[in-house]
């Protein structure tokens, strides 16, 4: 993984000093709240319902055990002993005092971490495929490019006061696990006919109140032009994006209003002019950064693991875990393991300090010291020997982290909702908890198979409900929470915005409604191999709508 050198260290320390000065000026009254708010946001500090919240960047979701242990220590010393992993590969602490933030940032800097640009109208934490460097289907590792983009965008003097937030995601596999088409810029690594590396470039995806799937504006961008092209997109956006209405300020609206062709033309024109003004990506620099992401020293192992196969035969619990939470690795004899942060009846994405330490220990012992955070709010051990899977399972189970539900109905994405969030219109965590309790039976979950339920507590869509196979949006009407269901959304390479099926449901009825949708699917699927999304795409919304609203009609 990337390691800081003297320059990087000086950079974060100066940023901590700058923020300490800003906090000091706010506490002394020199800065008004209006002046301070964008400054604190630019360093990930929000004011939530109960306290300040601090959002820490986990660049492209990669952590070492040392970093995860430091996060656990911060959770204990400055929060209430837990943290929340988010869909943007960040970690949020919910109970932070503003006056402590500079000290927390110093602790983060000590392990090469920061909270820079985790909020604000700037380029946010760059995300990437959480299986990067391990996935069997990978064309190239996206992390070096994500790191290059992270550096280039850090305190970028021109792009710190954009019309609105700006999110970039990179994937190196044809199967998109990073939801790139819901980002402001989505980059997919690809090779041209000559075998040279480059990117398919998508622009203008986004969720929120006006969900849009990104448009492909380039079929092939040579890798050396990455920064110049991103600069061109951002400059066009900075100058032309709407600033009169914050709900129309995202780049997706600019692309939509100017039209894809005109937007592309503006970007290409700016790109053509910029090419002479430096900023290409020289191979030595690309290589320098790529060496940090060199594969760990994998052993030469046979594809089959006898230990693994014996454990599968002997222990049905392990077999179940392995069938969902272990994934193919590009190196024979290795697997990728999903550590589920979705216990039945618990808040999705939360981990206690003790759990963080347990995962850190397991990663140090069995997984080359690497941990990933997925946009599905789980943790990932990217490189585990198949021989070690039974031991890893046992260690995870001890920490309460062996829930065998990756990709199943209880692997729910949920935003914090009204239990924490100042913008929420309804609670989302309790709904997630109740759904997972309803479907707690593992045989039933495995029978239902692949399905993604995603819940947001308001129209901002932090819980990705627009791209959930079943999306749930919490709203408020006359002081009561109610929940709208969307069906058929998808955040992968077949990116689709879900369709609203009909009137919303009360808090009491929402879990029944989800169950009705799933029972309808089970009754209509052609075989267990036809998963929910495939069945929905074949059937359309009609049978689901009928089942949901028949009683009412």
């Amino acid at each position: 993984m990337y390691r800081y050198d003297e320059f990087d260290r000086a950079f974060v320390h100066e940023r901590v000093a700058e923020f300490r000065d800003q906090v000091g000026r706010r506490l002394s009254g020199e800065l008004t709240e209006d002046q301070f708010k964008p400054l604190r946001l630019m360093n990930g500090v929000y004011l939530q319902l109960h306290a300040y919240m601090l959002r820490i960047a986990i660049p492209y979701g990669t952590l070492s055990s040392r970093q995860l242990r430091q996060l656990a220590a911060i959770a204990r010393d400055h929060d209430r002993g837990y943290g929340h992993f988010t869909t943007r590969q960040n970690l949020q602490f919910n109970w932070i005092a503003l006056k402590d933030v500079p000290d927390i940032l110093e602790k983060l800097a000590a392990v090469e971490m920061h909270a820079i640009q985790t909020s604000g109208n700037c380029i946010r934490n760059v995300t990437a495929d959480h299986f990067a460097g391990a996935a069997a289907d990978e064309i190239a590792d996206p992390r070096p490019y994500a790191e290059i983009l992270r550096q280039w965008s850090s305190l970028h003097p021109e792009f710190t006061f954009l019309p609105r937030k700006f999110k970039i995601a990179v994937t190196g596999s044809p199967h998109d696990r990073a939801a790139i088409q819901t980002h402001d810029i989505g980059l997919q690594l690809t090779r041209d006919a000559t075998g040279a590396l480059g990117f398919v470039v998508y622009v203008g995806g986004g969720q929120g109140r006006t969900p849009m799937v990104a448009r492909k504006i380039r079929d092939f961008l040579p890798e050396r032009d990455l920064l110049a092209y991103c600069t061109a997109i951002l400059r066009v956006y900075n100058l032309e994006g709407r600033r009169d209405n914050k709900y129309k300020a995202r780049i997706k609206i600019l692309v939509h209003e100017s039209g894809e062709a005109a937007f592309r033309e503006a970007v290409e024109a700016e790109f053509a002019a910029l090419r002479d003004e430096a900023l290409d990506l020289p191979t030595p620099e690309r290589d320098r950064i790529a060496t940090y992401f060199a594969p760990p020293p994998f052993a030469a192992l046979p594809e089959r693991s006898v230990v693994f196969e014996r454990a599968i035969a002997a222990d049905p619990d392990f077999a179940r875990f392995a069938s969902r939470n272990a994934h193919p690795h590009k190196v024979p004899g290795y697997a990728i393991v999903t550590v589920s942060l979705k216990p039945v009846g618990g808040p999705p994405g939360d981990a206690t300090a003790t759990q963080m330490e347990a995962v850190a220990d397991i990663a140090a012992h069995y997984a080359f010291d690497e941990i990933r955070v997925s946009h599905e709010q789980n943790l990932v051990l990217p490189h585990v020997r198949r021989d070690d899977l039974p031991a890893v399972f046992a260690a995870l189970r001890q920490a309460g982290l062996a829930t065998p539900n990756a990709g199943l109905v209880t692997d729910i994405i949920s935003c914090p909702g009204l239990d924490y969030c100042a913008l929420a219109t309804a609670r989302s965590i309790p709904v997630a908890e109740r759904i997972s309790e309803r479907f707690a039976d593992l045989d039933r979950q495995h029978e239902i198979g692949d399905i993604k339920i995603k819940i947001s507590g308001c129209i901002n869509a932090c819980g990705h409900h627009h791209v959930g196979h079943i999306g749930i949006l919490g709203l408020e009407r006359k002081g009561e929470e109610f929940y709208q269901i969307t069906l058929g959304g998808s955040g992968d390479e077949t990116c689709t915005i879900g369709e609203i099926v009909g009137p919303g449901f009360s808090s009491r009825r929402i879990v029944d409604a989800v169950e009705t949708v799933i029972d309808t699917y089970l009754a209509l699927r052609t075989s267990p191999r036809e998963n929910f999304l495939a069945a929905y795409r074949r059937l359309g919304e009609a049978p689901f709508r009928e089942a949901l609203y028949a009683a009412a009609e």
């Binding site: 320059f7 000086a10 100066e14 550096q151 305190l155 003097p157 900023l279 620099e285």
Partner: protein
């Protein structure tokens, strides 16, 4: 209004005219882009320097050919959160080779000045009292290590063998 230029507060030697104020016979004057385009010949015919004021949302259309003859361009930040002048500044400096004074006017605050500097601004009209005080006392704590070249190449050091890294001077 206090004017900070090249590391110190100085007296402003420019007069900014509204569009209907008659043109004085002598002295450095700044006018809007509209007025500049309308009275270009008269303005450039004077012996004293001429400048143009632009605001966020303006483009550089029409003034680019005359940039070598302009001694000042003032870019207005209507609100500190409006980032358009940063891009305009870089276009002026890097694409069009503008060498005259580039002045930030409007909502110019403490925490944005380091960014403005990197985008090529070299003069700042500041009214916010604690910003004035911080500049005067050299109390602006800023990040000096940068991950991208911008428009301040002349004053920034480029660490060996790292194409994008820059380090700026300790004081503004």
């Amino acid at each position: 209004m206090p004017l900070y230029r090249s590391g110190a507060f100085v007296t402003d030697d420019w007069t900014f005219l509204t569009d209907d104020t008659p043109l004085p016979a002598t002295g450095a004057v700044g006018v809007s882009r509209t007025r500049f385009l309308a009275e270009r010949d008269a303005l450039l015919g004077r012996t004293d320097p001429v400048g143009v004021m632009l605001t966020a949302g303006d483009t550089l259309a029409g003034i680019v050919p005359d940039l070598p003859r302009l001694a000042l361009i003032a870019l207005r930040f209507p609100k500190y959160g409006d980032g358009r002048p940063y891009s305009l500044a870089r276009l002026l400096r890097e694409r069009h080779g503008y060498r005259g004074e580039l002045r930030a006017i409007g909502d110019v605050l403490h925490d944005q000045i380091p960014l403005m500097r990197r985008c090529g601004f070299d003069a700042f009209e500041v009214s916010h009292p604690s910003t004035v005080a911080a500049l005067r006392d050299q109390r602006v704590v800023a990040v000096r290590h940068h991950y991208q070249p911008a428009s301040a190449e002349a004053s920034e050091i480029r660490p060996e063998s790292h194409p994008w890294r820059r380090v700026s001077a300790p004081h503004l």
